[in-house]
Symmetry: C2
Subunit: 203 residues, 2 copies
DNA sequence: CCTCCTACCTACTCATGAGTAATGTTACGG
DNA sequence: CCGTAACATTACTCATGAGTAGGTAGGAGG
């Protein structure tokens, strides 16, 4: 029996580009679940429906693979935010659109988000730089928005940190809730950040 | 030569309690630097000035050791916050004191903070539960404070997430700055959270 | 129909690090 | 002083997983 239908799977030969995408997809899932060190190349190759040597042939070492994941997911996130912010000009609108793009990414590419935010940040060496650079860029964009909105120079960076941190934490909460949308998260955070808590109670 | 002065170090026998403290101290430092998986028991035992089997004898497996670190550092943090909040009664004062205790912990027990926040959260299994429980408790305390301050029930939890997230992110920023104090971080965050960004610019 | 090229796989090697067995050694009660 | 129990070490075993050598199969060109 030379029936190549091993089980209807893709034993078929595929172009390199397609395989690389499959590998990266699987890698992001596995890295997000287990973290860099606990993730095994065997599990990733399984997930990609490919054998281990293929990963080494196409994407290089484990470190290279992780870097590739970070680059792809980080690129997606940065592009999404930059695109959304560029569509409007008023600072508060920019903030809203930026946050909205951010939350959309978190909800749509949940695993990618976890790799970027939770996993990559704790790894030392080359990864840390990669992530630090991206995060820095994000903070910078937010800080510039705040500065344009009239925030004092010295305050804009720490405030940007606080804002981004709040967004990240709210994402965590949102991922556990059944019916959240990027819009509802954005509105929540905008309300919190723009209005403040001061309106509450007596005070 | 039976000179026991190997090099003036503590080759002297010490009571179990002291050794355990040394081990935990070293473990927190190593775990914070390398993360759970990359940390080696050999490096920890070196740091503690003790040989590896002693760790296994006193604290059990690597997993047990990590759990012990989390428990100790987490306990310190929770106690510090609870103590500080209990000293006052007005919601905004409670918030200030709670945040202040939080930032003090981050600055004073930097490694402990990194283990709790950066390392433990990304590990699956038992650690995640441990941390999730603690974080949940913290969020709960904050949410209750917010509710007492007049925040709507449905909003208090997500807002607490945002606030705690902002505090965590601001800590990250603060750890990189040379001259921050717990007070300055607290004031910054209180200003951001209480007043909001709405006061900025035209709007 | 052959044949070569390249995608692809099975089955290994080898370093690393968790955990342990066997073995001193020091302090203290008797 | 001497026995014993807790303190402490050296030098191993053994599982795991990154990375690879060398063979197999499918499709394009003749």
């Amino acid at each position: 029996m030379s029936t190549p239908a091993k089980s209807g799977t893709s034993r078929r030969r595929l172009p390199r580009e397609v395989r690389e995408t499959q590998m990266l997809d699987a890698a992001v899932v596995v890295f997000s679940r287990w973290g860099y060190h606990s993730a095994s190349m065997d599990e990733i190759s399984d997930g990609a429906g490919v054998s281990k040597p293929m990963i080494y042939a196409y994407l290089g070492s484990k470190e290279d693979l992780f870097t590739a994941c970070i680059r792809r997911e980080g690129g997606r996130l940065m592009e999404a935010i930059a695109g959304a912010v560029g569509e409007v000009s008023r600072p508060d609108e920019q903030l809203w659109h930026g946050l909205h793009a951010f939350f959309r990414f978190v909800l749509d590419y949940r695993d990618g988000w976890i790799v970027l935010y939770r996993q990559a940040r704790v790894q030392g060496g080359a990864f840390a730089e990669e992530i630090a650079g991206m995060r820095h860029q994000m903070i910078l964009v937010v800080a510039q928005m705040l500065a344009r909105a009239g925030c004092a120079e010295a305050d804009s960076t720490p405030t940007a940190y606080a804002l981004v941190g709040a967004a990240e934490a709210l994402s965590d909460w949102g991922l556990e809730q059944p019916d959240v949308t990027a819009e509802s998260l954005t509105d929540r955070l905008m309300d919190f950040a723009w209005t403040g808590l001061g309106r509450l109670g007596d005070r």
